[in-house]
Amino acid sequence: MSSPAPTNYDKTEVPRSGPKRTGEWPLFEVFIRGQHGLSHRHVGSLHAPDAEMAIKNARDVYTRRNEGVSIWVVEAEAIHASAPGDREALYDPSNDKVYRHPTFFDVPDEVGHM
């Protein structure tokens, strides 16, 4: 019967500690501008060894069907995000201030993207 308490195996070699090898390229987030005048939109992510290759990979993965005229890639690590737990404090206060919501104007169709 095995011991209920964890013990160290004295006959097992301890793995040498070294730099962690993930075997993975860093993750990049990809943003593509669909056409001139529009802003870049997040379309997805991919792995690449560096930024230059990330742009090439983004070209191959995300613009095969003529989706874009410009590509941004950002290392996912470099993105700072708001914490989901702060949602109420950050966003709820604006809910009851309808006078801030731009819903009282009729936007003419000719304006296009705003």
Partner: protein, 251 residues
């Protein structure tokens, strides 16, 4: 009908057809997802160029054959691709090295063909050269990354370069067909493309820390159709089996 022009168009179209098929063999099993998609894109570009070259070859030939007939119903001895593109993929490094050695030549060849006296050839080349420029960008960068990478990747890239080097000479070998194309202003002299190609390859290999083989021996016989390697027949049995098994099948 100009026999020399048909031969030249077959050489262009068979190169892209056979290499396109080889590259497509990676579809679904490349080392990483991003490379898988990129290689499939490259393969599709090459097959697209094949449609244009063989389509025009069939027109000039005027024997009632289509680009599909030329691709799917000819046998080994009728193919006019260089031997390098029919070589099996072996590992990923060999595939990328072959792609780079091909792209560096193909881009310049297409660039020269945009000035062709034959307007159809010039138009096809103008469309294809944009794709080839991107292919070259990508394959060169990957050759450098793998050559100047780990000990394992460096060794594999050096092995690939040594294996492929004897197959590069055929790209610059000129014959009577080429002489006629040069005289008519349709295509450039293959030998004239060598200096720029060698300069590009030398620079890239230096960056990739790979040693350029010093042997000038060149395997020949692909673009003349005289003697293909045994690999082309195996490739064709895969590529053509459907038309062979179900003649005239369409979908």
């Amino acid at each position: 009908m100009s026999e020399a022009l048909v031969q030249t168009l077959l050489r262009l179209g068979d190169n892209t057809l056979v290499l396109g098929h080889r590259v497509s063999e990676w579809c679904g099993k490349a080392p990483v997802l991003e490379e898988d998609i990129a290689l499939a894109n490259t393969a599709l570009d090459l097959i697209g160029q094949t449609q244009m070259w063989l389509g025009y070859a069939a027109e000039v030939e005027g024997a009632g054959r289509s680009a599909d007939d030329l691709a799917m119903l000819r046998d080994v001895w009728d193919f006019r691709n260089i031997l390098m593109v029919e070589r099996p993929n072996l590992d990923f490094g060999h595939t990328i090295m072959r792609q780079f050695l091909f792209d560096a030549w193909h881009r310049d060849l297409l660039g020269a063909l945009t000035l062709s006296s034959d307007p159809r050839v010039a138009e096809i080349a103008a469309k294809a050269v944009k794709e080839a420029t991107y292919h070259l960008d990508r394959s060169a960068e990957t050759v450098i990354a793998l050559g100047d990478g780990t000990e394992e990747s460096h060794t594999r890239m050096q092995t690939a370069l040594d294996l492929l080097w004897p197959y590069t000479g055929e790209m610059f070998h000129a014959d009577a067909t080429d002489a006629q194309m040069v005289a008519e202003g349709i295509a450039p002299d293959p030998a004239g493309l060598r200096a720029a190609w060698l300069a590009r390859v030398t620079a890239t290999m230096a960056e990739a820390t790979l040693a350029l083989p010093q042997d000038d021996f060149a395997h020949k016989g692909g673009r003349t159709g005289k003697q293909h390697t045994e690999h082309l027949g195996h490739l064709l049995t895969q590529m053509q089996w459907l038309q062979r098994a179900y003649p005239g099948a369409q979908w």
